[in-house]
């Protein structure tokens, strides 16, 4: 019950910030529209709507990391967490309370992207529904990264690390904007050692109905999400004890 009350509060805090709505929902939409317009004038295979949309839905999740990290860091900075530590709230209440609101927001963001893509010509199929479902483990990964950053960084550092570094990593190392084969070498190896490109390729496979192609990407996503979550919980508990 406490965790749900806390989750409700966090949902309100996130959704009431116009910047969050602008970046979280508006920015991915702008990207879809812009890149589709480019595609209409200069056809590029990578920017075809069925290829582009899964990538944008994953990239949009980097803002979820920013949301969760920012709210935790701000709560720490304002001593709200300190106040709540002296109440009967347990560590589990905090962790679930911070995690829970982001998942439906991520799903909503993904649905909005697909609705825009349908309006731009994406063929309607049951695979869209599966793609929305498969975004959940990916969103867990991004939320865990947010929990991790929020537990160790202050809100200004969160802006730099999550707002700039993570969104760039998520953009450059995910194969959304350019084919990683074109760069190759160490860059490609690093990209495939990280979860971003696996998230995008998994979503692309799901949307194209290539369910065999989901693997091994799904394992990469789940593996990274699990490790990030465990680390995040340990760091959160550590700062709680501080």
């Amino acid at each position: 019950m406490r965790m749900l009350i806390f989750a409700k509060r966090n949902t309100k805090e996130i959704l009431r910030d116009p910047l969050n709505l602008g970046f979280g929902l508006g920015f991915p939409l702008v990207l879809i529209l812009l890149l589709s317009a480019i595609q209409a004038n200069v056809p590029v295979n990578l920017f075809e709507i069925q290829h582009l949309t899964p990538g944008i839905t994953v990239f949009g999740l980097s803002f979820m990391t920013l949301f969760s990290a920012t709210i935790i860091a701000k709560d720490r900075g304002s001593s709200l967490t300190q106040r709540l530590y002296t109440t009967p709230m347990t560590p589990l209440d905090f962790i679930v309370g911070y995690t829970l609101p982001i998942v439906p927001i991520s799903v909503a963001q993904c649905i909005i992207c697909y609705l825009a893509a349908i309006a731009l010509g994406l063929e309607v199929s049951i695979n869209i529904l599966y793609a929305v479902l498969y975004i959940i483990p990916v969103s867990m990964l991004y939320v865990a990264l947010g929990l991790l950053c929020g537990s160790v960084l202050n809100d200004k550092q969160v802006g730099g690390i999550c707002g700039a570094l993570l969104t760039n990593l998520s953009a450059w190392l995910s194969g959304i904007w350019f084919d990683l084969d074109l760069v190759g070498g160490v860059f490609e190896k690093i990209a495939y050692a990280l979860p971003f490109v696996h998230s995008v390729e998994m979503e692309r496979a799901v949307l194209n109905g290539d369910f065999a192609g989901i693997f091994p990407h799904l394992w990469w996503v789940i593996g990274y999400a699990a490790v990030a979550f465990i680390l995040a919980v340990l760091l959160f508990l550590r700062q709680m004890k501080k």
């Binding site: 806390f6 309100k12 709200l80 106040r83 002296t86 109440t87």
Partner: protein
Amino acid sequence: MEAIRIESLTKKYKDTVAVDNLNLSIKRGELFSLLGVNGAGKTTTIKMLSCLTKPTSGDAFLNGKSISKDTTAVKSIIAVSPQETAVAPGLTVYENLELICGVHGFGKDKKDTKIAELLKLLGLETIIKKKAGKLSGGYKRRLSIAMALIGEPEILFLDEPTLGLDVLARSDLWDIIRSLKGKVTIVLTTHYMEEAEALSDRIAIMKDGKLLICDTADKIKEIAGTDNFEQAFVRIVRGCDK
């Protein structure tokens, strides 16, 4: 009856002794002030008493419950209003109070009664729909104290409650704190001498983690040989260097 008994409480951070072998006893319903210059150990003492940080050695008993061995029981009888205002900025005044009611597991009737009572007590009735982040410093402090009082604490810790407030806002808050006297045991830290003198039943002066004196304001002035409390404070703090 004793509300707080502190026995040889010590907190060390690497080479620094923040609180050094503190022994104190505070009566039920007493308004007790902790005074000291920066780094005296006031906030660390409050953090230990409110189970936010563990003592290196020693113990304290709040209404008979140990801060080392029985933190859950201690948390159920205390509340803290931290130095920072510690409110949820995106929530309204009402929603902030509602959040804390939820955290304490209050049912609807109790929640409505408590919120109405505290809105009246703290003079917040006219701004219930205003977002906490948009409030003036004085109103934020009032809300912070209301949030601390909502759990019906037996012991209330007020860490620098009037820090940064203008004269009128401070005077209003003094009236509120005075109105709580006798109903709840209050431990207050402050830098303002006149605040400690005006509000407190007894005052403890700390320096470098050590307790220098603990008595009524009048007795402290008498011991220091002056009619002015600020002078008495300076003499006692400087005196310990000689």
